[in-house]
């Protein structure tokens, strides 16, 4: 395992690997996403209570899962970068952030669009939405911090600490918001999709979730490649200036 780890610490090798893996990620995303969309929009039934609006679940829930998955990935990468100084770890974290922020925004936005027909309100301060909103701020803070330094490596290192502080905070925030929400919760109990989810609904949900994951890896590979090359450019430019 550590062999593979160290093997791909070399950015050049990673570039070549990335170029090979990327089309597969693209292909999987398109195929699985296509089937998922078909099942979600056409091949699955409307919900007993929510009607057709339940179809929003097939983009909302995967987006929310990805929002959390990507942040966890960033935290792991940041830890690897800080502890073992693996050169690609920081780049993976940096490249993941915009994608994760995008998923978080989508979770919030589609959540609002789902909430309006379901609960009658665009926004409710329920525990899940509120926690997701805070997560969105954590993403934005990370991206702002990285760009706030003239020296890009300083920005990346500082952000690595920030993301680890954030990841420690996420369960605390979740717990606090849950508490706060039960104190203030209105009479109705909010349920998503019923007590247990029917297989006809489970399949599109899972397919979309996997498709979103392969999409993430697809875009991640593109962005990490771009970062590696940007680093090269920076080095080359410095060489030009200093001879």
């Amino acid at each position: 395992m550590s062999m593979i780890f160290h093997r791909f610490a070399n950015p050049t090798r990673f570039l070549r690997l990335a170029a090979v893996v990327q089309p597969w990620m693209a292909g999987l995303t398109i195929v699985l996403g296509g089937v998922g969309l078909y099942l979600g929009l056409l091949g699955s039934p409307a919900d007993y209570q929510q009607g057709e609006s339940v179809r929003i679940m097939y983009v909302h829930v995967p987006a929310a899962w990805m929002a959390m998955f990507v942040y966890t990935g960033m935290a792991v990468s940041a830890a690897v970068g800080l502890i073992w100084k693996h050169p690609l770890a920081d780049l993976i974290a940096k490249s993941s952030a915009p994608i994760g922020a995008c998923f978080t925004f989508l979770a919030l936005f589609t959540g609002a669009l789902w909430g309006k027909p379901m609960w009658g309100a665009w926004w409710v301060w329920d525990a899940r939405l509120t926690s997701m909103l805070v997560l969105f701020f954590l993403y934005l803070g990370y991206m702002a911090l990285i760009e706030a330094f003239d020296d890009p490596s300083r920005g990346i290192k500082a952000s690595s600490i920030l993301v680890l502080v954030g990841v420690v905070n996420i369960p605390i925030i979740k717990f606090s918001v849950d508490w706060w929400n039960t104190l203030h919760q209105p009479a109705s109990v909010l349920k998503m999709g019923g007590p247990s989810i029917d297989p006809s609904m489970l399949w599109p949900l899972l397919l979309m979730a996997v498709a979103f994951t392969t999409y993430y890896f697809w875009v991640l590979l593109v962005r990490v490649r771009a970062e590696i090359i940007a680093n090269r450019v920076r080095v080359l430019r410095l060489k030009q200036v200093h001879g």
Binding site: G51, R55, F105, L113, V219, V222, I229, A230, R232
Partner: protein
Amino acid sequence: MAALTEYFTMGGYAGYVWASYGVTAILLLGMLIASQRLLRRNQAVHELLAPADLDKNKDGTVEEKT
């Protein structure tokens, strides 16, 4: 035809459902395109500075094909 129109109305939830899928598609597609443009731009700049150099390591040694 009536069935198709009825499908698109999504039982009255058309606005919500299609807006959700639409914005998702736009943002995810946009992120993909923006990222690829970033990559292509960096590759172009790199080409200008040091053509066909991406197979070389920083110290000049050439990476073996794996």
